[in-house]
Symmetry: C2
């Protein structure tokens, strides 16, 4: 979980409860990433990993500009300006270089498949590599790149989908159960199941479906250790927000969140990540500062009502209650 | 499974293997429905039910006509005409009347929630009622109408979605796992899980997720007892068809099928069921007769690659292999 909710405290608490917590390298400098690694290393031991965003191709600047212009009224309402719709690679090479020099227990990638030499280099320093996939065809590509395991992400999942190509295409809407079934038909890598797992039954279900472990994000959003913004946190239990939907409105990449006014108003957002994410950053920050939930990205998976306001260690215990019983 | 694949032989074979087979009342006259019931009664015993379509509101004829005009080239290519884009209620009242006079072991409804008096009348003659739901809010409505159990249908499912209202709205894309979780939070009715269940692991998974039983459709499409059209049957294993997608192109109601040219060409189909279904009937029939898979509705769930060409009894055995073990 990038963008705030994941903190060193959250990762340490999950690790100390027997889970594996992932630090989010995305949206951070190498220095910030390395500082977080240093912060969790002692407390989390081998119970943590780092998630890295794979760089995206540049979008058509004309298309980006046309979309960003439609956000002017939102920015004005919040008395802020839009940011520059710039492209960046999230310091991918430098992050990989750092993770090779100072290895962590596991690295996962999302938004695409890293080159085979990146995967092998990490493996060479003793770090297993997970690659996030959302379809059987992506699983085949990830296996060919040498992944040690797959993070199999269903459409139920909150926040960004890890789809390799940021474009509208059929076959991107796999439910987790069918996806686990179809991925296991085309490759035999261990599967980490992600998407809509909010309680022990969901955990048991994905293990029965063939996953070796379950990954939860939304389930931890309300934990005291998480860095979830207070307005975002309140929205998760606000009866005004009843459903989640996919949107590109905030970032230019498909992500699932509580359906709010910004998503309704900007349903036509193009595929342009990270350009749009960079353009909306000040707007989202201003909305958060003002407590304007309808102009913030309220990322959440379909089982968001299962998220509880309990310490992360108790959430790990809750999720795994049925396992081994 | 309406429209052909479900036959009396298929229902009897499923029942004799210990399953519960559903006859499809949809698209049939009362006489045809009653003849099918008569055909399965001896062989299936208590192991069958009847699925009934709930009537839909009439669509705007102008919108329907505009869409139907876009299908002219397809009809011409198949040397056929389009049917009349007429509304009908699928003889709902007469079917219910028949099922009250000559009760069957279970009745399920789809495409909406029947009135409470219909539910109670069926229960009064000893027939339990299942209502198909695709969201927690629909589950609440079905429970209030007095349903005995819910058919909980995830987005993975093949063919028509049972969504109560035929309109684009957020929150209609629940994956089965998250849906089971969220429905069980808002009502305590027994859940029949449907959508993407192609093998024993899927079956085990939905039971772990809280369902009491699993419903499979696509898994039976290749059985010798099923009435699946040969071209449709061949498409299920044709490497040309790699993904499924939701479409209204064939029927005016959201349904999942193998992505083919007709779906690509008519992605803009409006919500108008059964008007569009009636209009495309001759076109679909002509395409089937010519073996033109790209103009047929190739309904299939996301786990369609798991469907096997084996007798229905063996498919039941395969699906339940892990259960009770």
């Amino acid at each position: 979980m990038g963008g705030g909710p994941t903190t060193a405290d959250l990762v340490v608490a999950v690790a100390q409860a027997g889970g594996l917590g992932f630090l989010a390298a995305g949206y951070k400098s190498v220095e910030a990433m390395s500082a977080e690694i240093a912060n969790v290393r002692e407390g989390a031991g081998a119970g943590f990993g780092v998630n890295v965003f794979v760089p995206q191709p540049r979008a058509d600047p004309v298309v980006v500009e046309q979309y960003v212009e439609t956000l002017a009224a939102d920015a004005a309402r919040l008395d802020t300006r839009l940011g520059e719709a710039s492209w960046d690679d999230d310091s991918f090479d430098a992050k990989v270089e750092y993770l090779l020099a100072d290895p962590v227990p596991i690295v996962s990638f999302t938004f695409g498949c890293p080159d085979r030499d990146v995967v092998e280099a990490l493996q060479h320093v003793g770090t297993p590599v997970a690659i996030t996939v959302t379809s059987p065809s992506e699983a085949v590509i990830a296996a060919a790149a040498g992944a040690d395991c797959l993070c199999v992400q269903g459409t139920e999942a909150g926040a960004h989908q890890g789809t390799f190509v940021n474009a509208d295409a059929p076959g991107q809407d796999f439910g987790l159960l069918a996806l686990l079934s179809e991925v296991s038909r085309v490759c035999d890598l261990p599967m980490i199941a992600a998407g809509g797992i909010g309680g022990p039954r969901g955990m048991d279900a994905v293990l029965a479906a063939g996953a070796v472990v379950a990954q939860a994000g939304t389930a931890f959003l309300r934990c005291p250790e998480s860095g979830t913004n207070p307005t975002y946190r309140a929205a998760l239990t606000d009866p005004r927000y009843t459903v989640t939907a996919m949107t590109r409105a905030f970032s230019g990449r498909r992500a699932r969140g509580l359906l709010n006014q910004f998503m309704v108003d900007h349903a036509d957002a193009p595929a342009a990540y990270p350009e749009i994410n960079n353009a909306t950053r000040p707007l989202r920050a201003a909305a958060a500062a003002e407590g304007d939930a309808d102009r913030m990205s309220l990322w959440a998976g379909q089982a968001f009502r299962s998220a509880v306001d309990r310490p992360a260690g108790e959430v790990v215990e809750l999720l795994t209650r049925g396992v081994h019983s």
